[in-house]
């Protein structure tokens, strides 16, 4: 295997840079061996050739001083860095960079939980803290605070928030829980945002906006700086918790159930980031496709019905939870039950009925902030399974939900894939997460999937559906769909990039934002 090098950098220059990194950070924390440590920074669920996103090296500093040293070396050699906190999101590229040859700046060693404040219910932490880490820390210290975690418990609290990920408790919209960041800019400058920018501030972790322009948002899903510390609000443990599941028998029910859901969400009768899971994703946690169907193409309707019956699940399966004192939970449940009961064939389940089942069990944990990794079971839907994400946003609107579902399912089926997906329901929006599962070693299947994703992104955009997040391979294409007024927003993003990172060393291509020196060159 030829060693991947940063674009335009000779082997001699690269080796010199690596030697400087070893001196600055320690040899143990600079990874260049493609078959051991560095292999962890490849995208092992890549749809295209993994070489297109292969890193040249990785480096793991222990603190901000280390980051500043790395930045100085990157600026000296013009070697781009790709920052990850834990780099564990398998659907969107794991720890791999958008552009081959980047050195991955892995912040996993910066994993200190700096403060947990029980009184004001927040925590201050570094990028390498995973959901598992934070949960265990709170358990160990007897904290009465809950975390909110994404489905992969090994993910980073900060990294997920920076990519605007979501969880499943009432604090499921992660970015809204952020309250101040510390950021290292490309030139090594360290700054605090919000109230933290005032020396000795007493409100840096309780009032997020500070004074003047509020800049936190522009550092999320971006490449303008490296966030090294984050304050996040945590949910106090409620006096009661009652997870539930509601099944709906027909595909078309997604329209009415979403309409019924909207007032329940907006009025906070359902306080958590609830989720409406389609039949096959629900099933794939528990069984494999081969157990039911050995033909090519999408699973036919007759088989879908058999799966529904065998597993006693719906075409759609809604998971939510009640929180609070018993009378409040009882009262809210009446409203929820009355509302959903308008749909013919609806069924309601609580923990005592389905708590032992794997799907209900892990969802119940997620909705109370207990991290786990059971959801990855759906990868076993097909042999040697891998997945990517197509993730358009939708309002909490029945007609839109049905249309998006039908569009996504039709295209996936046209290209020979099953639709596996869910709607994660916020207050006024839904993250429609579609996860095509494919055989990672089947090149023909991957070519089909790549083509399908491109078609779907374009078709969705034509209907006004934009993706909130995407895999490395589609960052440019998705960015291209946010193009109103001659790409005014992207041109602003590029102006920020040119000012904040004039040498273009931070995460080139992240969210489609390229530094000036790479902007004119077509990137694979």
């Amino acid at each position: 295997m030829n060693k991947t090098l940063p674009d335009g950098i000779s082997a001699a220059e690269f080796n010199a840079a690596v030697n400087e990194l070893k001196t600055a950070i320690g040899e143990r924390w600079v990874f260049t061996d493609d078959v051991t440590h560095l292999r962890a920074y490849y995208d092992h669920q890549a749809i295209r050739d993994p070489a297109l996103t292969a890193p040249s090296a990785a480096v793991a500093p222990e603190n901000i001083v280390g980051i500043q040293k790395i930045l100085a070396i990157a600026r000296k050699y013009l070697i781009p860095l790709w920052t990850v906190s834990t780099g564990k999101n398998l659907a969107y590229g794991t720890a791999a960079p958008r552009m081959a040859g980047c050195i991955v700046l892995d912040l996993k060693r910066m994993n200190r939980i700096i403060e947990v404040n029980e009184k004001h219910a927040y925590a201050v932490l570094e990028p390498g803290v995973s959901y598992f880490d934070l949960y265990k820390h709170l358990q160990k210290t007897g904290s009465k605070l809950w975390i909110d975690c994404a489905a992969p418990g090994w993910g980073g609290v900060l990294g997920n928030l920076m990519d605007r990920g979501v969880g499943y408790t009432p604090y499921g919209e992660h970015f809204t829980t952020a309250c101040g960041m510390q950021i290292v800019l490309a030139d090594g400058t360290v700054m605090d945002t919000g109230m933290g920018n005032q020396l000795g501030s007493t409100t840096s972790d309780t009032y997020k906006y500070g004074r003047g322009p509020w800049v936190d948002g522009m550092f999320t899903m971006a490449n303008y700086g490296i966030v090294t510390r984050l304050s996040i609000q945590l949910m106090p443990e409620p006096p009661g918790y009652r997870p539930y599941m509601v099944t709906f028998p027909k595909e078309e029910d997604i329209e009415q159930l979403t309409e019924l859901l909207r007032p329940l969400k907006i009025n906070m009768v359902i306080p958590n980031a609830a989720v409406t899971v389609e039949l096959l994703l629900e099933a794939a946690i528990q069984v494999t496709r081969a157990q039911y169907y050995s033909g090519n193409g999408a699973v036919p309707d007759s088989v879908r019905k058999k799966i529904m019956a065998d597993l006693d699940i719906g075409a759609w399966n809604f998971y939510g939870a009640l929180y609070g004192p018993e009378p409040i939970m009882d009262n809210n449940w009446k409203l929820i039950e009355e509302s959903f009961s308008q749909i013919k064939g609806v069924r309601f389940f609580f923990e005592q009925e389905r708590g032992e089942e794997i799907a209900f069990g892990y969802r119940a944990k997620l909705m109370r902030g207990i991290p786990n990794m059971t959801e990855f079971s759906f990868l076993n839907w097909v042999p040697n399974g891998a997945h990517t994400g197509f993730s358009p946003m939708a309002p909490v609107d029945g007609k839109t939900a049905l249309e998006q579902y039908q569009l996504a399912r039709q295209r996936l089926n046209d290209f020979g894939f099953d639709y596996l997906g869910e709607f994660i329901v916020g207050w006024r929006d839904m993250h429609h997460i579609v996860v095509p599962v494919f055989n990672r070693d089947n090149e023909e299947e991957k070519r089909r999937l790549y083509e399908m994703m491109n078609v779907l992104i374009d078709e969705a955009a034509e209907r006004g559906y934009g993706e909130y997040r995407t895999h490395l391979d589609f960052m440019d294409r998705v960015a291209g769909t946010f193009n109103w007024n001659d790409n005014a927003l992207m041109r602003l993003n590029q102006r920020f990039k040119d000012v904040l990172d004039p040498q273009g060393i931070l995460a080139p291509g992240k969210s489609g934002i390229w530094p000036a020196r790479m902007r004119e060159k077509s990137q694979p």
């Binding site: 440590h37 962890a40 528990q286 157990q291 990794m373 079971s377 990868l379 042999p383």
Partner: protein, 187 residues
């Protein structure tokens, strides 16, 4: 078809033990190495694998997340990771193994089809030349044969060679249908 509950109760077994002597241990790897093994609970084939290492089994549930810290914590003293798991577990464990400085030296993909069992093995040629006849000879259940040759398999140095073969056997009751056997070694 699998009983639903049985399939759901997929789990992993973890133990630390010296690698069992392979039939070829004297030829390929004289020193025992410290190894951790991972298997899937309540899967008929994995039970065969598991039985070979049954002295100290620590079975856990279907959540691979509960298992990661144990593997990560032992990486300084364990020179080989060896397992037979679901494909999804292999994906997760691989990521961790690479991070901890292991390299992948063997994979076996084992898929039950309606007409029989498809094996696809990757390792160095030396290992496959020994392992192929053992598995095609079918003198013992295939999963057991793989487990019994842990020493041989973990002596592989790369994934340079591939061996694919098909056996006309039916899936046992309680099989996961598709399993991956794998070996990582340190350094």
């Amino acid at each position: 078809m699998l009983n639903r509950r049985t399939f759901l109760q997929t789990a992993s077994m973890l133990l630390t033990l010296p690698a069992i002597p392979s039939l070829f241990a004297g030829l390929v790897k004289p020193e025992p190495c410290l190894m951790r093994t991972v298997t899937v609970q309540d899967c008929a084939d994995s039970e065969q694998f598991h039985a070979v290492f049954s002295a100290e089994n620590d079975r856990i549930g279907p959540d691979i997340g509960t298992y990661l810290q144990a593997i990560g914590d032992c990486s300084d003293r364990v020179s080989a990771l060896f397992g037979l798991t679901r494909s999804s577990d292999f994906s997760i464990l691989s990521q961790l193994a690479w991070e901890k400085g292991y390299r992948l030296v063997y994979t076996g993909h084992h898929q039950y089809l309606p007409s029989g069992l498809q094996h696809n093995l990757q390792a160095d040629k030396y290992v496959l030349d020994f392992l192929g006849p053992i598995l095609t000879g079918m003198k013992a259940p295939w999963a057991r044969s793989i487990a019994e040759n842990a020493g041989l398999i973990t002596s592989s140095s790369s994934l340079e060679s591939e061996l694919e073969f098909f056996l006309p056997v039916q899936a046992p009751t309680g099989s996961s249908g598709y399993l991956v056997s794998w070996a990582f070694v340190k350094g």
